[in-house]
Symmetry: C2
Subunit: 242 residues, 2 copies
Amino acid sequence: MAYELYYWPGIQGRGEFVRLALEEAGAEYIDVARGPKSKGLGISSLMDILEDENVERPPFAPPFLKDGDVIVGQTAAILFYLGPKIDLAPKNEADRLWTHQIQLTITDLVAEAHDTHHPISVELYYEDQKKEALRRAKDFRENRMPKFLNWFERILARNPSGDRHLVGRSLTYVDLSLFQVVEGLTYAFPHTMTRLIPDMPRVAALHDAVAERPRIKTYLASKRHLPRNDEGIFRRYPELDD
Amino acid sequence: MAYELYYWPGIQGRGEFVRLALEEAGAEYIDVARGPKSKGLGISSLMDILEDENVERPPFAPPFLKDGDVIVGQTAAILFYLGPKIDLAPKNEADRLWTHQIQLTITDLVAEAHDTHHPISVELYYEDQKKEALRRAKDFRENRMPKFLNWFERILARNPSGDRHLVGRSLTYVDLSLFQVVEGLTYAFPHTMTRLIPDMPRVAALHDAVAERPRIKTYLASKRHLPRNDEGIFRRYPELDD
């Protein structure tokens, strides 16, 4: 049975981390909220699960994954669940936990990247929190981005199986997620990334290697891959990238 | 061998979620950074692990747990690892994943609670971001706190094994974490909590039941339990609780 991914249509957002894993694995999946209402899909299917009082374990927010009777929310938990099933997680438990820890750190980075343009409230427009965004983005560029990216560079360098992957000697879902982080940061903060990336050769090489994987390449060129826009996590507001 | 917990001394912070689990289980543990340097403990032991180039899998930030050779970072991952070992996690995998999802949602809430007083940067004092904090805290009180707390109330109500625990019919680590969230929010936002709690009888009852558990009661009255202060995640700044 196909996996069902539920995420807001129209943005890559957090859903993209799950999509990249499903695409790399060649797994069958339905991107439910982007499908037509006539086929029982669309945004209302997503809202139904969030609001249905009979759902015993309702997710707090999208994305969530439905696999038969199982519903899993929280991006990092979805990947932790999915990884072993689609052969994108390490075999042993200690390595799986380490992979998950890295993914949770990516989760933190993603939340902070989002808050550069929404430091006050998701209920308000960017324009209504732009002054605060300027300050928060400065801190993100100067302190947080280097701290996160240096950590990824460091753990790549220390991987005893080689610096081509974050964990072990083969691709895992967290390599795909780091690719998406580099994509997003490069889109949102091109100047800052131009400055930082030369010191992070391993992160850059991993990003480039993922982009060249046949299934990822096909996916990125397909209609299944949503184009970037300024409504998601990573937004290009030039004033935030000085 | 005793577990070693590494966290900033002087604040409950994220370390407290791990302490509560260890205390409830009666597990042997060392709160490393709070110990004396003469015994090889103290903050420098924590910094050593963060900075030692020989650590193959360095945590991104405290808290982290050392269990023999294993080092685990990220609060939710620590509890996911620890829970089954100290009998504070459900037996089957699906239930464990659900417990973890709830913990990850608590992680999100904790980050947002922190950002009410530090909406711009952890590098700056509260006073230097107070104006922004006033706006962010308003959104947290009006939108985010009710959204999170209503979700906890809802999943308690829907637990088929009864509404006394978040998962199954026995205590798990996530019940202890929700206790700490209620403690923290009540300290930081007493007026808001007075307004919200009447609509969350199950959350309130779970909090009260945890406070009465013998080991938790003993712990809370002991010196191992750090008193609240305004340097951690939950701070009482009356102007942020209107």
